[in-house]
Amino acid sequence: MSTHTNIHRDDLSSKLGMWLFLFTEMLLFGGLFVVYTIYRYLNPTAFHQAAQELSIFVGTLNTIILLCSSASIAMSITAIRLKNKKAALLLLGVTIILGLAFLVNKYFEWGNHLREHIYPGSAILALRGQGDVLFYGLYFFMTGLHALHIIIGLVFIGVVTVSVSKNRITHNNFSLLENSGLYWHLVDLIWIFLFPLFYLIT
């Protein structure tokens, strides 16, 4: 690097720091997966029936949307390394649009539940028994926490997109883009497990 000021940069450590943060995220969701496993074991019938009420179509659609967005942010790294700024910006834009599409689906999905008076603390849900209360409690908490991560990821990718357009992220300085990608892939990874656990295993 031959800039006029000698700025120290350590991309490998920055990536290592990101991974360490991702491990804490894995442990956070890991704890919730433990709770899910035990309550499912204790309430097999209620979990079985409650899971059948979730729309497999919307769940599958959201899985495919997230997988596509993961691929697009991964490809944006290739684009920036090939010095193709336009393609990188386009791919980041696609990622943001797909992330928003995921949230829109989630909004309609949750909206339907709320209309049917299914939400944590609902009296109608309580009448259906402890198993249903636990299933929907975990469902809303885990998918809600996941959606919060999507929102944070979108803000992160938004910042990265601005940095790319202002040439602060370039072909030889793209570790922020890589780290936002890692975060986004982890969010995708968590969904890969949430989807079968809540929608498929009935």
Partner: protein, 94 residues
């Protein structure tokens, strides 16, 4: 400071992996509609694990990265799996 330079991953690699991931998603949806019982859980979780390994190795570059990153990840994943197993065993044999 330049890190060890690894090759730029071509676009088509990501597109192939994406196609594989979507195919696995649809397979897992189809299979869980047919099978019933405990086998369903096993099938869905095995497919989810295979999908994760592709996301980790290709999208998250673990395949091309220093082995240290993969080892750390495996350690954390094993920790979570053992906590789930131990807690379940406690409930099963209580």
């Amino acid at each position: 400071m330049e890190n060890e330079k690894h090759d730029i991953i071509p676009y088509r690699t990501f597109l192939f992996v994406l196609a594989g991931l979507i195919l696995m998603t649809l397979t897992s949806v189809a299979l869980t509609q047919i099978y019933l019982g405990t086998l369903t859980i096993a099938i869905a979780l095995i497919i989810a694990s295979v999908k994760s390994s592709f996301v980790l190795r290709i999208f998250m570059h673990l395949k091309f990265e220093n082995k240290f990153f993969s080892r750390m990840f495996i350690a954390v994943a094993l920790l979570i799996c053992s906590v789930i197993t131990l807690t379940l065993l406690d409930y099963l044999f209580r």
